[in-house]
C-alpha cells in the first residue's frame, strides 16, 4: 500500500515538517475550535476550513490573494527596520524614501529607536523636524508610531512602584493603584506627542503594541485615543494590539463601561471605534509548538469575527510571532504568504 502523500509545512516556530492532508485537516479543526471556544465566537464554516487546507497544501512555494482582493499595507517601527534592525547606515527620513520608491509600500512610519511615547517627549522637537522633512519628500501616508509601554513608568525608570513586584508580594491594592497612576500619565504623554505630531503635519499616528503591559496599558491607549479624537477629529490614528486579549494585570479597569481584562479582538475593535480610532490592528498570538495549520485556522477564526464586528478598516498584525506568522526573525515566505492570503480572503482584512 502506497504511503499517503505528505505536504511540506511548518510549526509555529518556523521549523519545517511534513503532514498528510488528514493531519492538516485535524489541526485546522482544532485551531478553529480553540478560537471559537476562547473567544466565544462562531467557528469558520466547513467551506472556509476546507479553503485553509487548500491554501496550505497548494503546490506553489508562494501564495497570493485572488485578483481583486488586494489590500493595503501599514507597518510598525517602519523606518527603524532598515537603519536599526538591519544596520543599514541611513537616516530615518531616507528610509521613508526607500520604503516609498524601492519597496513600493502603501505607507511608511517614522519612529524613534525607543519606540515608546514616554522617552519621545524630551526629544519631541527633533522628532517634529524629522517628520516635517519626511513629509515634504514623501507621497505615501506617513505615520508617527510608538508604544504606550506602561512598564517604563515603573521604578527605577519611572515614578511608580512596579506592579509586577507588588503582585507576587500580595500587595494587590498597591499594584492596582500604581497601574492606575501609570495609565493616567501614559495617556497624557501619548496625547502630548500627538499634539506635536499634528503640529508637524504628520499624516497619521500609530499607537502600536497596545496592551503589552496588560489592561492598564490598554486603558492608557484608549483614553489617549479618545482625547486625541476630541481635540483633532480629522487626525487619523491606527491602534495595533500587542496580543489577542488584554491580560488582567489590574483586573478591574473599564473603558466606556466595558471591562478591559480578557477582551478579545472582536470586542477590542468596538472599544477602539468608540474611542475614535481610524484603523484597528488585531493581533493573534502564535503558538510556536503548534503547527502552522493550527495557528492559521485559529487566526482566521478570530480575525473573521473581528472584521464582522468592525465598522472601521482592520489591519491584522502579521509580523513575526503573531497572526500565525512563525516566531522567528526571518519569517519563511511560504508560510507568510499563505497566512496573508488566508487572513485577507477568509478573515476579510482591509489591510495588513
Amino acid at each position: 500500500m502506497a504511503e499517503e502523500k505528505k505536504y511540506f509545512t511548518r510549526y509555529g516556530d518556523g521549523y519545517s515538517t511534513y503532514m498528510t492532508k488528514d493531519e492538516i485537516k485535524k489541526d485546522v479543526e482544532r485551531g478553529v475550535e480553540d478560537a471559537a471556544s476562547r473567544g466565544k465566537i462562531d467557528p469558520l464554516t466547513e467551506a472556509e476550513k476546507s479553503y485553509i487546507v487548500d491554501i496550505i497544501t497548494m503546490p506553489a512555494k508562494m501564495a497570493s490573494v485572488e485578483p481583486g482582493k488586494e489590500v493595503v499595507l501599514s507597518s510598525d517601527e517602519g523606518t527603524l527596520k532598515a537603519s536599526v534592525r538591519c544596520g543599514v547606515s541611513i537616516d530615518r527620513t531616507t528610509a521613508v524614501a526607500v520604503e516609498e520608491r524601492i519597496l513600493c509600500m502603501d505607507s511608511a512610519e517614522l519612529a524613534h529607536i525607543d519606540y515608546s511615547y514616554k522617552p519621545i517627549k524630551p526629544i519631541i522637537f527633533d522628532e517634529v523636524c524629522a517628520m516635517q522633512h519626511a513629509e515634504l519628500n514623501s507621497i505615501i501616508p506617513l505615520f508617527y508610531g510608538a508604544m504606550p509601554n506602561l512598564g517604563l513608568y515603573t521604578k527605577p525608570d519611572g515614578p511608580y512602584d512596579n506592579w509586577a513586584e507588588l503582585l507576587p508580594a500580595g500587595k494587590v491594592a498597591e499594584a492596582r493603584e500604581a497601574q492606575e497612576k501609570a495609565a493616567e500619565q501614559a495617556a497624557k504623554d501619548i496625547v502630548s506627542v500627538a499634539d506635536h505630531m499634528v503640529e508637524a503635519g504628520a499624516d497619521a499616528l500609530n499607537m502600536d503594541t497596545v496592551g503589552a503591559s496588560g489592561d492598564a496599558d490598554a486603558l492608557a491607549a484608549f483614553t489617549a485615543m479618545k482625547e486625541i479624537h476630541r481635540k483633532y477629529p480629522d487626525f487619523p490614528v491606527e491602534m495595533g494590539m500587542a496580543g489577542e486579549f488584554f491580560l488582567g494585570m489590574h483586573g478591574k479597569l473599564t473603558f466606556e463601561g466595558e471591562q478591559l481584562a480578557g477582551m478579545y479582538p472582536h470586542e477590542q475593535v468596538k472599544i477602539a471605534e468608540k474611542a475614535g480610532a481610524t484603523i484597528f490592528g488585531p493581533t493573534i498570538n502564535t503558538n510556536s509548538s503548534e503547527t502552522f495549520a493550527w495557528n492559521l485556522a485559529r487566526t482566521c477564526t478570530f480575525i473573521k469575527a473581528c472584521s464582522e464586528e468592525s465598522t472601521i478598516p482592520i489591519h491584522p498584525n502579521v509580523g513575526m510571532g503573531v497572526c500565525s506568522m512563525c516566531l522567528t526573525d526571518s519569517v519563511p515566505l511560504d508560510a507568510a504568504s499563505r497566512a496573508d492570503k488566508a487572513i485577507v480572503e477568509i478573515g476579510r482584512a482591509d489591510g495588513l
Binding site: C104, I139, P141, P236, I312, A349
Partner: protein, 85 residues
C-alpha cells in the same frame, strides 16, 4: 490607504471610491501598467524618478485635490505658506 485614513472606509468601498475618482476600473488599481500611465497623466508621482514628475508634497497636494480628501501634511504646509496649491 489614503481613503481608509481620511474617511474610515473599508477596503472594498475605498477602492471603489478611488477608482471612480481616477476614472479607472477597480481591477485596474493593482495593474502597474495601467496605473503608471494614470499616475503620470494626472502627475501624482510614481516610484521612478522623472524630471517632469510631481514628487513629495507636490504630489500629495494633487492627490488630496483629486480624491477630494484632507491630507494632514498638505493642510499643514498649505497653512505654512498661506497659499493655495
Amino acid at each position: 490607504m489614503r481613503v481608509e485614513l481620511a474617511k474610515k472606509m473599508r477596503i472594498d468601498e475605498a477602492k471603489a471610491y478611488v477608482a471612480e475618482k481616477l476614472g479607472v476600473e477597480v481591477s485596474e488599481l493593482n495593474d502597474v501598467s495601467v496605473m503608471r500611465e494614470v499616475r503620470n497623466d494626472l502627475n501624482i508621482g510614481e516610484p521612478n524618478a522623472r524630471p517632469e514628475n510631481a514628487f513629495g508634497l507636490i504630489a500629495k497636494a494633487r492627490i488630496a485635490k483629486l480624491l477630494d480628501i484632507k491630507i494632514p501634511s498638505v493642510e499643514k504646509f498649505r497653512g505654512m505658506i498661506d497659499a493655495e496649491f
